[in-house]
């Protein structure tokens, strides 16, 4: 016969076992980010020959942009009475198209690179993905209503004049300083300080997430273990909260994983709402500004 007490301990073991796994996964990811931060800091300095991490300014760029973060999206019309387009990320990529940066009075060439990383702030990417005008919405919506949806490309460039952080190998090629990918990684061009971003993410895991989920599991455990154990109303409340916590901590783990994705891999998604719901079928006044392509 399995008593409430035996089963209660089994249930708590399940709760804490899965909490521990989520903690381990979070700490593993945080350790990867912390190592990356340490690697950048180890190479921080003036852009002398060798592997370097330095701050610079874009002074010239192919086509006006040193690179871009690009996401291919597919849009479909949303449910409900309001006209909306829901965007789904398909492929995200970093494009380093090349140019010249200036750091500590030196000019360095960044050559076009496949497989580099472009990091941009979330605010900047979000701003680039919103519906730019009523005209674009009116163009997108009819295709979004078709089975195959509407495609678009969200492109967030790093233009001339921007401050960037670069991680790569500085080489002297025929008298010209050039930045190439590091030996064990990708060429990084960030329009935000990656050391700060990585540090914040690591600290969030260590100071907020880990203590938070331990506390979250400890509270129902403490309540459930109030005497008479697995019998009293307080213990019952602990059991109920434990079940609720078990169902909530799992999505918290995957939300953290998404939060810790490098900016070059972040999800953009987004929803466009009808900019003029009262006169939605009126003629569009603004021209299309984003590359849209109907698939249906």
């Amino acid at each position: 016969m399995l008593s409430n007490e035996i089963m209660g301990w089994v249930a708590l073991w399940i709760l804490w076992g899965n909490t521990a796994l989520i903690l381990l996964a979070a700490l593993k990811r945080a350790r990867t980010l912390a190592r990356r931060r340490a690697e950048l800091l180890a190479h921080a300095g003036d852009p002398e020959p060798g592997e370097r991490f330095f701050q610079a300014r874009v002074v010239a760029a192919t086509g006006g942009a040193l690179g871009a973060f690009v996401v291919d999206q597919l849009g479909r019309f949303g449910a409900g009475a309001a006209r909306t387009v829901h965007w789904h990320d398909r492929h995200a990529r970093s494009e380093i198209t090349g140019g010249t940066v200036e750091a500590e009075g030196r000019r360095l060439t960044i050559e076009p690179t496949d497989g580099g990383e472009v990091w941009l702030g979330a605010d900047e990417v979000d701003a680039a993905s919103i519906c730019p005008s009523r005209g674009v919405f009116e163009e997108a919506y009819p295709s979004a209503k078709k089975t195959r949806g509407v495609e678009r490309e969200v492109r967030v460039p790093i233009p001339e004049g921007r401050t960037v952080w670069v991680h790569g190998v500085v080489e002297d090629r025929a008298g010209q300083a050039t930045v190439a990918p590091p030996p064990n990684g990708k060429l990084l061009v960030a329009a935000m300080n990656p050391v700060v971003w990585l540090g914040r993410r690591v600290r969030f895991v260590q100071l907020v997430f880990v203590p938070g989920i331990i506390l979250g599991a400890a509270i129902p455990t403490a309540l459930a273990l109030q005497a008479p154990v697995f019998d009293s109303p307080t213990s019952k409340l602990g059991g109920l909260l434990g079940l609720a916590y078990f169902l909530v901590v799992l999505p918290a783990g995957t939300a953290l994983r998404d939060f810790l994705r490098e900016p070059s891999q972040r999800f953009v998604r987004g929803v466009w709402a009808d900019p003029a719901p009262a006169t939605s079928t009126a003629a569009a006044s603004a021209p299309a500004e984003l590359p849209l392509k109907g698939r249906g």
Binding site: L21, A79, R90, D231, G239
Partner: protein, 322 residues
């Protein structure tokens, strides 16, 4: 496939169910409910044997969800919808979720350009046993988040209605049982429910880890033991199920022999799941290295089947009928 359909059409139509073999699935679910009921109402049944059996049958209940959401168990649509509620209670997750998460996304290993929500790559511990244990903690939330996004698209109102009905029934009944007897429900109803739901998620890593999902015939691992497949309603034959989702589960063995065996790497035809689990997760610490399983496919005669896009559309249609 047309020959089989014609043959079936020519045979006497079974009473109530869509195929005579469906009674096995009905029996599995009935046994599961009897086990849960016994433990809930009869204190003497709250023992290791009943709890273990309930956990096993909860997993089988989730297998039935899988089969039912591909092809309805009953002839009547009303009965099929009611059956969804029964199955949802057994797993404490809405059976309707399988339509987008399994039939449309998993069968094609792709969420329209993004990875499958239940891709084995979702876990990456060095100690492989932790990957097996932790996998549902990632694949589960991935699935529900993906389903929320999928359901936000227009034209999916019927899915959302069924999803709500599933939730109302399963949470309503579980909640009512909790009100009547909290601890018994938590320990002897909810634990088996969650065990089955988590095991059916876990089967994704078991069936696809270290396979090549870009190939047509070497994307899945099969477990071909006869007894195993009898109780599992032929869910061991996973490759052919992915490629021919319209084939009834009772016929998968024949199709597997005919189409899969000549094209699959022999290492993906496992005689025993227990031996595979022990060999892969218990004995070694590390994840096994990837091997070129697609070799067998390259050497074999090609077989024309519909593209994954076409099969995805067929799966959507079949799921909507279930």
């Amino acid at each position: 496939m047309a020959e089989e359909a014609a043959e079936l059409a020519g045979a006497a139509r079974p009473w109530l169910v869509s195929h005579p073999a469906e009674w096995r699935q009905v029996g599995i679910v009935a046994t599961y409910w009897c086990l849960l009921g016994s433990m809930y109402f009869v204190p003497a049944c709250r023992n290791v044997v009943f709890l273990g059996a309930a956990c096993l049958f909860s997993f089988l209940n989730a297998v039935v969800i899988h089969n039912h959401m591909h092809q309805g168990v009953f002839q009547s649509k009303t009965l099929n919808h009611a059956w969804r509620r029964i199955l949802s209670f057994g797993a404490l997750y809405p059976a309707s979720v399988n339509l987008p998460s399994h039939n449309l996304v998993h069968h094609h290993f792709d969420d329209d350009g993004q990875p499958d929500w239940a891709a084995p790559e979702n876990v990456d511990f060095k100690w492989n046993l932790l990957n097996l244990i932790h996998f549902p903690n990632v694949a589960g939330p991935n699935t529900f988040a993906g389903v929320q996004r999928w359901a936000a698209i227009g034209g999916r109102e019927e899915f959302k209605r069924q999803y709500v009905y599933d939730n109302v029934f399963m949470f309503g009944l579980t909640g009512a049982l909790m009100v009547a007897d909290f601890w018994t429900t938590l320990f002897f109803i909810v634990i088996p429910q969650l065990y089955g739901a988590r095991c059916i998620l876990r089967i994704n890593i078991i069936q696809h880890d270290r396979c090549d999902t870009t190939t047509e015939w070497n994307h899945s691992r099969n477990f071909v033991g006869r007894a195993f497949n009898w109780i599992m309603c032929n869910n061991g034959y996973h490759t052919i199920h992915h490629n021919r989702a319209g084939v009834h589960w009772s016929e998968l063995h024949t199709w597997h022999q005919r189409e899969v065996v000549p094209r699959i790497d022999p290492s993906l035809d496992e005689p025993s799941m227990i031996k595979y689990l022990a060999r892969t997760y218990l004995l070694p610490r590390k994840r096994p290295p990837a091997i070129d399983v697609a070799r067998a496919e390259r050497r074999s005669a090609p077989l024309a089947i519909e593209s994954r896009d076409v099969r995805r559309a067929q799966a959507a249609e079949a799921g909507a009928r279930a």
